[in-house]
Symmetry: C2
Subunit: 189 residues, 2 copies
C-alpha cells in the first residue's frame, strides 16, 4: 500500500468539516471521517492525532509564516508595515482548497461551543505569535501587543472577504483590512 | 435545610480552582469540589450546571457591566472614553474574593488546554460585547471593532496588575492600561 496518497489530507479535512456540520462535532467519529474521505483509519492517523487536531493543524504553520514575515521585514519598517509583511507571507497558506473549506468550516464552528473555544484559542495564539515577532524586532511592549491585535483583526477580516470572493489571493484582502484598521486607529485619537 | 448559604458560591469557586491546580481539571469531579467547599452536591448544582461553567459564571455579568457602562457614557464621549466608562462599571465585579482567586485561576488555566480554550472564548466574548455596545452608540464598524479590542487588552492588562496588587479597586488599573494603549495607538501611525 502506497504511503503517499495525493490529496488525502485535504479530503480528510473536507470530509470532517462536512460531517461536523451535518451531525455535530461530538457525534462524528474518526472512522466516519476516514470512510467519507475514502481512506483508511490508519491514513487518518498518519495525518492527524485526533479529530480535534484536524481542524487546527494549519495553525502552527500559519503562526510561523506570520512570524517569519514580520522578522524578515526591512529594518526600517514600522510595526504595522512589519505586520503587513507577515500577512503577505501568510498568504502562502491560503490556496483554493482553503477557500472551498472556509464556508463549511464556519458552519461547523457555529454548531459547536467546543470548536468555538478551539477557534478562539487559535486567534489568541496568532496574535501572540505576531506580538512576539514584533518584540523580537525591538518594538516596545504595549505597541507590539496592540500591533499584534491589529494584525489579528486584519487577518480575520481579510479571511472573511477572501473566503467570500470567487478567486484571487488572500494577501490583498488582509492588507486592505489592515489599511482600514490603521486609519481607524488614527481616528481613535 | 436552608436554601440560602452565605458564601457557598465563592467557596465552591475557590475549592474548584484549587483542585484543578492540584490534580488537573479532567481528574476533578463535582463531588470533590462540593466536599472541599463543605457543601452538598445539590448545593453545587443550585449554583452551577457543571464544573466548566463554574469557571465562566462571571463572564455574562461582566459583559453586561462593560456594555452598560459603554451605553450609558455621555453622548459626547469618544469611543475610547466610552470604553473607559465600561471598564469603570466592570470594576464592580472585582472584589477581594476575585483577587484572592486570581492567581489560583491563572495556575489552573496554565495546566489545562481545555481551560485555555474556554478562557480564549471568554476574551473573544468580552471584546464582542464592547464592540456591539459601541456600535449601539453609532460608532462605525472598523473603529468600534478596534476600540473593543483595545478595551479587551486594557481589561486583561489591568486585571494582571490589579491581581498583583495588595489592595484597591480594579478601575484605576484598567484605566491606566487603557491610557497606555491609547498612547501606543497614536504612536503606531
Amino acid at each position: 500500500m502506497a504511503r503517499w496518497e495525493p490529496g488525502a489530507r485535504e479530503r480528510l479535512v473536507m470530509a470532517a468539516v462536512d460531517l461536523f456540520t451535518e451531525q455535530g462535532y461530538d457525534a462524528t467519529t474518526v472512522a466516519q471521517i476516514a470512510e467519507r474521505a475514502g481512506v483508511t483509519k490508519s491514513t487518518f492517523f498518519r495525518h492527524f492525532p485526533d479529530k480535534r487536531e484536524l481542524l487546527v493543524a494549519g495553525q502552527e504553520a500559519l503562526s510561523l509564516l506570520l512570524a517569519e514575515g514580520i522578522a524578515e521585514a526591512p529594518a526600517e519598517a514600522g510595526p504595522l508595515d512589519a505586520v503587513a509583511a507577515g500577512l503577505e507571507r501568510a498568504s502562502a497558506a491560503f490556496g483554493e482548497v482553503s477557500r472551498e473549506i472556509a464556508p463549511r468550516l464556519k458552519a461547523a464552528v457555529a454548531t459547536s461551543t467546543e470548536l468555538q473555544e478551539r477557534d478562539a484559542l487559535k486567534s489568541v495564539s496568532l496574535a501572540a505569535a505576531m506580538t512576539a515577532a514584533l518584540i523580537g524586532r525591538g518594538v516596545p511592549d504595549p505597541i507590539a501587543a496592540l500591533a499584534g491585535e491589529l494584525g489579528l483583526l486584519a487577518f480575520k477580516r481579510g479571511y472573511t472577504t477572501w473566503a467570500g470572493d470567487a478567486k484571487g489571493d488572500f494577501a490583498p484582502h488582509a492588507l486592505a483590512a489592515l489599511a482600514e484598521l490603521r486609519a481607524a486607529s488614527a481616528a481613535l485619537g
